[in-house]
């Protein structure tokens, strides 16, 4: 127990924790929305995120080539916007594909919910493996050499060629807050705010809440639930794409299994805040990120994940349906 370390570095731990937590929260939105509408743990959402991270890295490789370089955040901002769009498109497409291939056939056949979970697990394996075998796949279509920069060493860590050098933006309590962290936090807050307003104010959002509340009544009222479900997946994909961009800004490298642990964390965040609740995902994500950092400072980094899960269990004991608890369907119209 190293309290002095925690006390001396509290600002840094809080800021970086919030930044990581913001990424968790963005990914958690995908879990929480799908859960709200379908009561389904979309296990493959982690792969939606992972494909987003690769989209970001590929955009950078496409523009810069593979030679590593270092830049400040300001210099790369244009490229980041481009990769943000790419990641959001790729993630949304993967999410859409998932819904089409892994879920809709099951819903049609009225498969039990647990079976849908198995299908999601299968999709997750298949997507992750496909990414890990992308050199082979490129070989089949005869593009192995042309795409070498993108597919070589498919199972290794794939780094963004541009390492973003964090600059100090301002100082709080002796710690220089980095522009990267600030950007990550602000950008994800903005995305979440946009999503929240979208779900609250638009016709589509109303449809989503209606399906979450009672699919049959919603159908009777003329809500096209198939469209709503597809849209929910796409929205989750868009958020995961944004999270992927921020993740690449902060971490800078990815691999075919990068989604798994992050997905588990994000799902934990969603449950922590109350699954099915959009604002809960934000609260859960930030809380998880910060407490992980504090826990790592207190007990050592090797206990970081243990702290996260113990926190989850403790909170669920006190509030069995998460911190904010309320579901997507019960939110005020």
């Amino acid at each position: 127990m190293d309290f002095s370390f925690l006390a001396n570095n509290i600002v840094e731990l809080t800021v970086t924790g919030l930044a990581l937590g913001a990424i968790y929260a963005l990914v958690a939105l995908g879990y929480t929305m799908v859960y709200g509408v379908l009561q389904l743990i979309n296990f493959a959402h982690s792969e939606v995120f992972m494909y987003g991270t690769f989209a970001v890295a590929w955009v950078f490789v496409f523009v810069h080539g593979r030679t590593p370089s270092t830049q400040t955040l300001g210099e790369t901002i244009g490229l980041l916007l481009l990769s943000l769009v790419a990641a959001m498109v790729v993630s949304a497409l993967i999410a859409m594909l998932l819904e089409r291939v892994a879920y809709r056939p099951l819903l049609k056949r009225k498969a039990p919910r647990l079976m849908a979970l198995i299908s999601a697990i299968g999709a997750s394996f298949a997507l992750a493996e496909l990414m890990g075998l992308r050199d082979r796949v490129a070989g089949w279509v005869g593009l192995r050499d042309d795409l070498d920069a993108y597919v070589a060493k498919a199972r290794d860590t794939y780094s963004n060629p541009v390492t973003i050098q964090p600059q100090t933006l301002f100082e709080v309590g002796g710690y220089g807050v980095k522009d990267v962290d600030v950007m990550v936090i602000l950008a994800s807050l903005f995305m979440m705010l946009a999503l929240d307003q979208f779900v609250r104010r638009t016709r589509f959002g109303r449809g989503m809440r209606a399906v979450a509340q009672d699919p049959e009544s919603a159908a009777l009222m003329g809500v096209n639930s198939t469209r709503i479900i597809r849209g929910t997946f796409i929205l989750g994909g868009l958020m995961a794409g944004a999270a992927a961009t921020l993740y690449m800004v902060k971490i800078g490298s990815t691999r075919q299994d990068a989604g798994f642990i992050l997905g588990v964390k994000a799902f934990t965040a969603a449950v922590l805040g109350g699954i099915g609740n959009l604002r809960g995902a934000l609260v859960g994500g930030l809380l998880l990120g910060v407490s992980e950092n504090y826990g790592a400072a207190l007990f050592g980094t090797e206990w970081k994940d243990v702290v996260a899960f113990v926190l989850l269990i403790l909170i669920l004991l006190v509030r069995p349906s998460g911190l904010l608890g309320e579901s997507l369907g019960k939110a005020r119209a």
């Binding site: 919910r113 647990l114 298949a126």
Partner: protein, 391 residues
């Protein structure tokens, strides 16, 4: 998939219609078949690239785990995504007691491992089983991770390096004398096949009964025996008041509680029994041929595979769990020639299966009846969607 589907259903129906004596005889025959299977080494089925006995051990161990998890998921309806935690507790208890800290014999450590795992199950279950269904999934998942990280970081149980030299179960008959004495009471040759013509292969002999490095088959026999005993116990429990209480709790917890079923206590019992079987298989795994465990032997992914085995097989049916466990363990080994692609293919298979067998390969008879009835009702009401169907 179509013909397979009808064949499976037809088999299940025929099975249900058989007289009791015939069923018992068939089960005995089937068990005998599985005992000799790694010696017969039938073509096509046998894995060529890796030791078939070892694969059969893996299959039996996976089936045992699936039977245990089936109690939690299939009978009591609790989604447990951290079952590997119990498996690890069982394995580590055995490792610590027999090798790392103490030097107990295998059969002394085994019951302790089971009891310790059972207590772990109660300790985890008592506070968390009040949490609603899907929240339980993530809590258990967290538990599995906590166990893995704890054994990675605690020096007393070997930390990241793990525990090696875990003793094997005691031999029957004389011990092997290196370099050439195989030990055991006698040795059993296996068959080798040239096309469809079998011949006795004296180069591949299994000493009866030596748990050593020579052959994995004795370990397989041990696990298979344990599996059969557990299946018998499972049947006795399922057909008792306890099994009915689980079923009632799973179908409608409030109604069960009103009818006087102490649902919480029965859920906890399911959790503890499931944990005990997980611990048992973990203990067997720890003292298997390799005699070595480390934290990497218990990844979260394994929990997911366990759940997949139970649900693919048909949650709630012990034979379904056995079949599912066997398939999940066997298929990736059998199709090693696709080496790099086997996980991809496995993932695709998990995606395709639910479309054709939404209830699992061998669903419990009750589910089949319930589904038929539900379909009739739906047809009468002319309803299209029934998304929110429960387990």
């Amino acid at each position: 998939m179509g013909p397979v589907r009808t064949a499976l259903d037809a088999m299940a129906r025929r099975w249900a219609g058989m007289p009791r004596g015939a069923r018992v005889a068939l089960v005995v025959l089937l068990a005998a078949f599985f005992y000799v299977l790694p010696l017969v080494r039938p073509p096509v089925v046998t894995t060529q690239q890796i030791d078939f006995g070892g694969v059969m051990f893996g299959i039996a161990a996976f089936a045992l785990v699936a039977v245990g998890l089936n109690i939690v998921i299939g009978y009591a309806g609790l989604l447990d995504l951290g079952y590997v935690g119990f498996y690890a507790v069982g394995a580590y208890t055995t490792g610590v007691l027999t090798s790392y800290q103490f030097h107990w014999s295998f059969f002394a450590a085994l019951p302790v491992a089971i009891v310790v795992t059972m207590i772990t199950g109660v300790l985890l279950g008592a506070p968390t089983l009040r949490v609603r269904g899907d929240y339980l999934a993530i809590v258990t998942l967290g538990f599995g991770e906590i166990i893995r990280l704890a054994v990675t970081n605690v020096e007393w149980v070997g930390a990241a390096a793990g525990i090696k030299d875990i003793p094997h179960p005691p031999n029957i008959g004389p011990d092997p004398e290196p370099p050439f004495g195989t030990g055991g009471l006698f040795t059993i040759p296996s068959l080798s096949w040239d096309g469809l013509v079998p011949s006795v292969d004296t180069g591949r002999e299994t000493p009866f009964l030596v748990f050593g490095a020579v052959s994995a088959i004795p370990y397989y026999w041990l696990v298979l025996t344990v599996l059969i005993l557990v299946l018998v116990a499972d049947r006795l429990v399922k057909d008792s008041r306890v099994g009915r209480a689980w079923e009632a709790t799973r179908e409608d917890e409030d109604a069960a509680e009103l009818m006087g079923v102490p649902t919480f206590r029965f859920k906890l019992l399911a959790f503890a029994l499931g944990a005990a079987i997980g611990g048992l298989s973990g203990a067997l795994y720890a003292s298997s041929q390799g005699g070595y465990i480390n934290p990497q032997s218990f990844p979260l992914l394994l929990s997911i595979l366990f759940v997949a085995a139970v649900i693919v097989g048909g949650a709630g049916n012990r034979w379904g769990a056995v079949l599912g466990g066997a398939l999940v363990a066997y298929l990736p080994e059998r199709f090693r020639e696709f080496s790099d692609f086997r996980l991809l293919v496995f993932g695709l298979a998990l995606m395709i299966l639910p479309v054709y067998r939404p209830q699992g390969l061998l669903p419990p008879r009750r589910t089949i009846r319930a589904r038929a009835a539900q379909e009739e009702i739906d047809e009468l009401e002319g309803r299209e969607s029934a998304q929110k169907e429960v387990l």
